[in-house]
Symmetry: C5
């Protein structure tokens, strides 16, 4: 899974019919120093994540293993909201 922060929303009315009701969030990748990277994905939310929250998202076919994404054309899903990171090994 990838660590990211929700920074916004994508609005779409014309979309695949299976996606009606799905919420598309813009998620920027975070590094381990809590800094935003340039890379971002648009992910469907399955856990009630809001803008500004630090999350994990899963990609590929694994993104279809939640109740809200099953059998849908979705390749990224937010499946956890992060409370904190514990980093024990320094480089």
């Amino acid at each position: 899974m990838v660590l990211g922060k929700v920074i916004g929303t994508v609005w779409s009315t014309r979309k695949d019919e299976k996606l009606i009701g799905s919420k598309f969030l813009i998620v920027k990748q975070l590094d381990l120093q809590n800094k935003l990277k340039e890379n971002f994905v648009v992910a469907v939310d399955s856990v009630g994540a809001g803008v500004g929250e630090v999350v994990l998202y899963a990609t590929g076919s694994s993104a279809r293993q939640t109740n809200v994404t099953k059998d849908k054309p979705v390749d990224a899903v937010i499946m956890a909201i992060v409370d904190k990171l514990d980093i024990s090994v320094k480089e």
Copy 2:
């Protein structure tokens, strides 16, 4: 999903028989400042997207979860046309 803009079409007559009737669009990735990146994919359209439109596309096995791509050798599908982006968190 990935944010992109449709910039053209790929024409092909000799192709896998399951792909007869599929429309191949050239989609360049967009950044969050609405600037085109160098990266592009060729995606099948499932939502009536036209050249110049901003879209989302899904990749991998998720690209086969629409009615027009089911069981076909397609690894990228346009599954939404974007109305607008709301970006709330600044870097």
Copy 3:
């Protein structure tokens, strides 16, 4: 899908038994100015593509959705030969 040009062939006699008879082509990625990139893959051909031809290839599980690649350990398949590109949106 990815745009590429077939530049050669890989010969292999010792291979997974499901791959007997499969033709392995070396495909270099093409950019939209018809210039070869450094990146290449080895793809199975499903459409009679020859060396020098411009093609599309699909990757991942989608590469197993043709008659010649079904259930085989193949992660890239040529599924279309390109006639031409129409690019309408300039950068």
Copy 4:
């Protein structure tokens, strides 16, 4: 599979219900000189790996082929703890 070292843990209480009880570990990629790279993933542990250990992780749908990750929205799993590397071919 990818070679990495477990460097920490991600704590999450709000997550997909299938993930209750799953342990999320932060794994940095290792090069062949045993040096940490910048890239990292968050992986579910299936083999009792601890912080500081060198591991292999599998990604994509293959990450769901262990007993602890089956049918879950998980795209990276630690499936082996590394005893040692034997490198015989020099560059």
Copy 5:
């Protein structure tokens, strides 16, 4: 598929039970001039490949389509040993 050379072995005793008996090989990517790249993967061998041999490996779910990797948490498999490359198109 990706062109590579087997350069070593990963030894692991604590691993997912489905992987008992699987041989993990370190495979560095090769370019078309037969030079090793920095990138490497750890792949399961399905064709009796040995250290020093030039091989093709398949990734993702396609890596589980051999008899030795079926249903296992394996995302890279060596599925062919390369006899030679024929490159006909120059850059």
